[in-house]
């Protein structure tokens, strides 16, 4: 093997490794909660792409529930709540507050859109 070819292969391997590493890195998605909305209330992800939902609250305890992925947690003011998720199916999936927070609680929801 020529020395120049070997260097190219090594470089390619290293670059490929970096690319794969990037693909495997969870994407962080920050979602803020306050009465009676999530911001953002629409999140787009790729099927199979690991995610970390970083949830915070601006006012009081809220809930975060996404039944299609069996996710539920409290969101406590002053804390970051991190939720790991690998969406394994495409489609639109509802999330919502499940800790009653007042007149408007029923409207506090959002959508995770998972692209194929």
């Amino acid at each position: 093997m020529h020395r120049r070819t070997l260097i190219a292969l090594l470089a390619g391997s290293a670059m490929g490794g970096v690319a794969r590493l990037a693909a495997d890195q969870p994407a962080e998605i920050r979602i803020s909660a306050k009465k009676f909305e999530f911001t953002p209330n629409k999140v787009v992800a790729k099927r199979g792409q690991p995610l970390v939902l970083v949830l915070t609250s601006e006012d009081r305890i809220h809930g975060f529930k996404m039944p299609d992925f069996a996710i539920r947690t409290d969101i406590v003011p002053g804390q970051q709540t991190r939720v790991n998720l690998v969406p394994d199916k495409a489609g639109s999936f509802a999330f919502f507050c499940d800790v009653f927070c007042g007149d408007g609680h029923e409207d506090m929801d959002g959508t995770l859109v998972v692209e194929a």
């Binding site: 039944p67 499940d98 927070c101 007149d103 029923e106």
Partner: protein, 289 residues
């Protein structure tokens, strides 16, 4: 009660509407434990609500009270399955709404009235104001051989019954015989009716597991502002209409937003419940203007 007898009973009771006969209390021996009777279920009155979903909100409850007072055959008692008042962040206004609600329903000509909270009454203060006006949020009572269990799945804002209440339920059920007739009254569905609309109780499956060994159990609830009939095994669950605005059938539209107002109020009403060897439900529309 035979079918012909039931028709006579409904006629004598002066009840309009379509009777829904639930396949409940299947153990006929249990029917011998007590005499037949009927009661009325009110649900989701949301006193204090103001908005386009019901421009008549200030009068709907009074009309329903007049309708029930006009029944030819007075019910033995009346139950309110939660959301007596519409929620407010202001504790003073919450108490004012409860006070006014209590005044309005005091016009009922049946004085045995049983209350329980909905999340609008109790979730923001863990039931503190509710208890001041209406007492305990979970309790039992017996009527003519039927055991009633009132469960609170709303004072915890995360819609849990909680371990303490589940232990209380288990202890109560231990005193029952397998064929006793049991009616559970609660606000939210105990089963997963529509999880992505939050039409569930977080630990409701534990309550259903506790009830499952008993042969004659029916659950009456509210919360979803419409009739709904569902079986978990041999246990039937019946949701009642509200007296403020109807909500869409589970999954029938993208969001659980109220249905448009209809001045004829076809989606609102109370319900007469006849308890015999079967449970018969008759929907009572809001008719008294």
């Amino acid at each position: 009660m035979q079918d012909a007898d039931r028709r006579d009973f409904l006629r004598l009771a002066g009840l309009a509407g379509v009777a829904f006969t639930a396949g409940l209390f299947p153990d006929r021996k249990a029917a011998a434990q007590g005499s037949d009777f009927h009661f009325v279920q009110f649900s989701d009155t949301h006193w204090g609500y103001s908005g386009p979903a019901n421009p008549d909100a200030e009068h709907t409850l009074e009309k329903a009270v007049a309708t029930v007072n006009g029944l030819a055959n007075k019910p033995d008692f009346i139950v309110f399955t939660g959301d007596l008042t519409h929620t407010t962040d202001d504790p003073k206004v919450r108490r004012e709404r409860m006070k006014r609600f209590r005044e309005i329903v005091s016009a009922l000509n049946v004085k045995d009235v049983r209350f329980m909270p909905g999340e609008h009454d109790a979730s923001l203060d863990k039931g503190e104001a509710y208890k001041e006006f209406f007492g305990a949020t979970n309790y039992t009572f017996d009527h003519k051989g039927v055991h009633f269990i009132v469960l609170d799945n709303v004072s915890d804002p995360a819609a849990k019954l909680g371990d303490e209440q589940l232990a209380w339920l288990a202890a109560d059920l231990k005193q029952r015989k397998p064929d006793d007739r049991i009616v559970v009254l609660t606000h939210r569905p105990l089963f997963d009716l529509k999880p992505d609309w939050d039409w569930t109780t977080a630990d409701g499956a534990k309550a259903i597991d506790l009830l499952m060994p008993y042969q004659n159990v029916v659950v009456l609830y509210g919360h979803i502002h419409q009739e709904n009939h569902h079986m978990t095994g041999h246990i039937a669950h019946h949701a009642a209409k509200s007296l403020i605005f109807p909500l869409p059938a589970p999954g029938s539209q993208p969001k659980r937003t109220p249905l448009p107002y209809d001045a004829a109020m076809p989606g609102l009403g109370t319900r007469d419940v006849t308890v015999a060897q079967k449970v018969t439900l008759v929907e009572l529309p809001v008719t008294k203007g």
